[in-house]
Structures are given as C-alpha cells and as structure tokens.
C-alpha cells in the first residue's frame, strides 16, 4: 500500500533520517519503536507530508507522493494521523469535529455525516459526548475522539504518533483498546509508540529505528523476544552501561570505585549489590594486573532494568589467554571469591581480543 524508498530528511546540517526504506502492506499493523530523537516521528510526519522529505520516494498505490505533479491533498486524505496532543478543534463540539472533514473535504451531506459520526463515536464508546466540547473531556476521551475523527475520513491507513504518550497511565488502556479493535477490524496502521507490551500484542511487524535508519525489523517475537542486533537488544532490555578503560597497572581503584558507585546509585542498586560488584571488580582487576603493563583493559558493566541483572565484560589485547585461568594465578583466593559472587564466567578469543564475561549472581 505504501512503499517508502530511501527516504531521507535533514534539518539544515542535522540529518534525522539517513536512508529509510520500508513497505507497509494493506491490513498490516506496524509498530515503530526506538530511543527518543531517532526520527520515528519525523518519519511518520514525512509519510503524510507534514514534513517535506529531503530525498527518496513515497509511493501510494504506485503514485509518488513527492512528485511535483501529484495531487497531495487528495492522497493525504487516504492517510490520517492521530497525534500525541490530540489536536481537536476546541471551538467545535465533538460531533462537529468528526463531521467537518467529511462535509468540507468530501462533500458528504450533513445528515449522513452526522449519522456516520455517531456510529464512530459509538465505536469508541463516546456517543454520549457528541454535543460536548473537547475541553470538557479527559485526555483519553480526547484521543478517542481524535481516532474517531480519523475514521470519519475513511482513510486507507492511520498513522499514530505516540498516541498515548501524553496520557496519564490510567487512560492509556482505553485508547489502546480502541486501537486494538481497529487492528482486529483490519485497519492498516503505523504506530510510533513507547508501549512495548502493546506493540508486541497488536503488531504484525516491528521496526526498531536508530541512527536515522531502520536499524532492525522483524516480527514482534523476533524484536521483543530475541533481538539480533546490539542496540535493539540494549533498548529492549533497557540496558544501562558503565564503561571504564584501564590503561596501566597503577590504575586508580578508588576513582573507578567512585564511578561504579555513582552508576549503582543512579540505578538505585541496593548496598549489598554494590558491595559485591565492587569486590568482583577488584578481584578480577587484580588478576589482570600482571598484563596491564602490556595491554589496556576495557570493562563494561551492563545493568538490565528489565531483568535487574548485572553483566560484566572484560576486554583486553595481547596474546591469547584467559586471565582468570587458575594456572596463571598465585592462589585461589581471588578466584573463589569471584566464582562465589558471579556465574556464567566465560572466556573467548574474538577478533584478536581476549574477552571474559560474567554475570553477578542473584542474592
């Protein structure tokens, strides 16, 4: 239904969309997820030309929206958008909000427009609010009216730009319920959202946008269950990372400890967890000490907000060898402490680097 080819968008020197290509087929529900500021909304706004793309093509039914000769207004009617901020006309009643488009843009007779509007208000559960004005409605109700208003124009596809982000949590579900219903009824939709569970439930396909591209795409099971690429995984698992570069055997343990403590405090990790983490880090660093005169060491601590687990990765150069190999250690004291506090301790040689990984045990 919509084919996007190499879409790009820059604002002056700022490149927001680098190269986006995607196809949205009839009846599909596509969720677009990703960190803030990565172009998700810009992408959506390009689709119905609220933003003018810098390059690429958007074809609807074969016709390129960006061609000078295209009747944009007509094409735009086939797509409709639901915004984060509702954007209802405050001077019109709920019913009038719904009938304005059909009457003015599609020449539908007032009686027929009213009837259709009431039907749609019933669909979203707000028929009794028909005569009221938007400022008398709650956020969730306004959004449901906004959705009904979209439907009144009988679009081929509805674009949702973070439809629930401005709503308080108690009203989010009533709006998601309406969107679910539309999905069930076969409406083609592209939804930019931060509601992961909802996106997982309702979509056929998920696009993870990052770096101005579609960084990874797949089925909900693939993207939410087993994301393949690193940034997708970090996003899905809400991984917060701490990195530290150790360049010499005389590294400042206390300075690093202070940074690790700050990281732990930021993510509200309890004191016993912090203590154990600092102890593991000190013990492993001691094992690396003999190597630090010839190679640097990079430590990455990943904290997953989702699983609440801490994973550590230690990367160093030099000849192949596992710094935690008992054969190289003066005694077993350090290693027994590490093995007590961490699990899944693994060593691998990858790309000429030695990599040790481990996960802190749960208490």
């Amino acid at each position: 239904m919509i084919t996007v080819e190499h879409l790009s968008k820059r604002f002056g020197d700022l490149v927001v969309l680098k190269d986006v290509s995607v196809e949205i087929r009839k009846g599909e529900v596509i969720s677009i997820i990703g960190p803030s500021g990565t172009g998700k909304s810009t992408f959506l706004r390009c689709l119905n030309l609220l933003e003018r793309p810098s390059g690429g093509a958007i074809r609807i039914g074969g016709v390129n929206l960006l061609d000078r000769s295209t009747d944009v207004a007509k094409l735009r009617q086939r797509m409709n958008m639901v915004f984060q901020g509702f954007n209802l006309f405050s001077h019109l009643s709920v019913l009038e909000n719904l009938t304005l488009g059909p009457r003015k843009l599609r020449g539908i007779a007032p009686a027929a427009a009213d009837a259709k509007a009431m039907e749609l208000l019933r669909l979203v559960g707000l028929a009794e609010k028909a005569r009221q004005f938007p400022d008398e409605l709650s956020g969730g109700q306004k959004q449901r009216v906004a959705i009904a208003r979209c439907l009144a124009m009988e679009p081929d596809i509805i674009l949702f730009d973070e439809p629930t982000s401005a709503l308080d949590p108690t009203t989010v579900s009533e709006v998601l319920a309406v969107i679910r219903r539309l999905a069930r009824d076969g409406m083609t939709m592209a939804i930019v959202t931060h509601e992961m569970d909802f996106a997982r439930d309702v979509s056929n396909r998920v696009l993870y946008m990052d770096e101005g591209l579609i960084y990874e795409e797949g089925t909900p099971e693939q993207i939410f269950g087993s994301p393949a690429r690193e940034k997708t995984r970090a996003f899905i698992n809400r991984i917060r990372s701490f990195t530290h570069h150790i360049g010499s055997p005389d590294f400042d343990l206390y300075a690093m400890n202070a940074e690790i403590e700050a990281f732990c405090e930021k993510h509200v990790l309890p004191k016993p967890v912090r203590q154990r983490l600092l102890l593991v880090v000190e013990e492993v660093l001691q094992m690396y000490r003999p190597l630090l005169s010839t190679t640097a060491l990079d430590l990455v601590i990943d904290y997953s907000e989702r699983t609440q687990r801490l994973e550590l990765a230690w990367e160093s150069g030099g000849p192949p060898g596992n710094p935690l190999d008992p054969a190289h250690l003066p005694d077993e004291l350090g290693l027994s402490i590490v093995e007590n506090l961490a699990e899944e301790i693994a060593y691998e040689r990858r790309d000429d680097r030695n990599r040790v990984s481990m996960r802190m045990r749960e208490c």
Partner: protein
C-alpha cells in the same frame, strides 16, 4: 584503613578499620610486621570496624598467621562484620581462623 594497636590482658590487640583491599593492604602488612618483629606473639585482630575485605586483605591475614606460627605465636580474630564474614566464608577462611565474638572473648581464649 586505620590501624591502631594496644596491649591488653594477655595479648596485643590490633584494630583494623575501614577497607583492607589491594590499595591499603601493603600498609597494613607493614604495621603487622612491625608488631611481630617487635616481639608480639599473641595477637588479637579487632575487625569490628572493618567494612570491606578483598583477597588482598585475606592474604595479609594469612601472612599474619604464618608469621606468628613461625614464632609459636597465636592469632585470634574478633568482631567480624557480616559482609566481611561472607567473604571469609566464600574463601574458606572461616575454617582457617579462630573467629571470636568480641575482643574480650578473643583475649580470654589465648593460652
């Protein structure tokens, strides 16, 4: 790391407070050597204010035990905090050392 020693009853009590880690252990070892070289043979380590120990600290304790053994001396450890205790446990230290509840109990146990 704070280190303070005093004569008490049958032995010498050395209080180690703060952290006993790879940074502070050398200084602690030095102080203990001074005591033992100076003739101390009955030593009680008061760890009531020790908040953190790593393998570096454990090695100092092991060395202390070794040095005293060579002189037919005795070592007791008193007042271990829970976090330090768990590090002792996970490295098998609790089996190696005689840990008493208090300095008084430790001193009383010296022969």
């Amino acid at each position: 790391m704070e280190f303070a020693s005093r004569q008490e009853g049958a032995g010498t009590v050395a209080e180690i407070a703060g952290r006993l880690d790879s940074v502070t252990s050398p200084a602690c070892e030095q102080r203990i050597r001074e005591l033992i070289d100076g003739g101390v043979t009955s030593l009680v380590l008061d760890l009531a204010r020790l908040q953190y120990v790593s393998s570096a600290g454990l090695r100092v304790l092991l060395l202390t035990a070794k040095l005293l053994k060579a002189r037919d001396g005795q070592l007791r450890i008193a007042g271990v905090q829970p976090e330090v205790r768990s590090v002792f446990d996970m490295s098998g230290f609790s089996a190696m050392f005689q840990v008493e509840e208090s300095v008084a109990a430790a001193l009383a146990s010296l022969t």
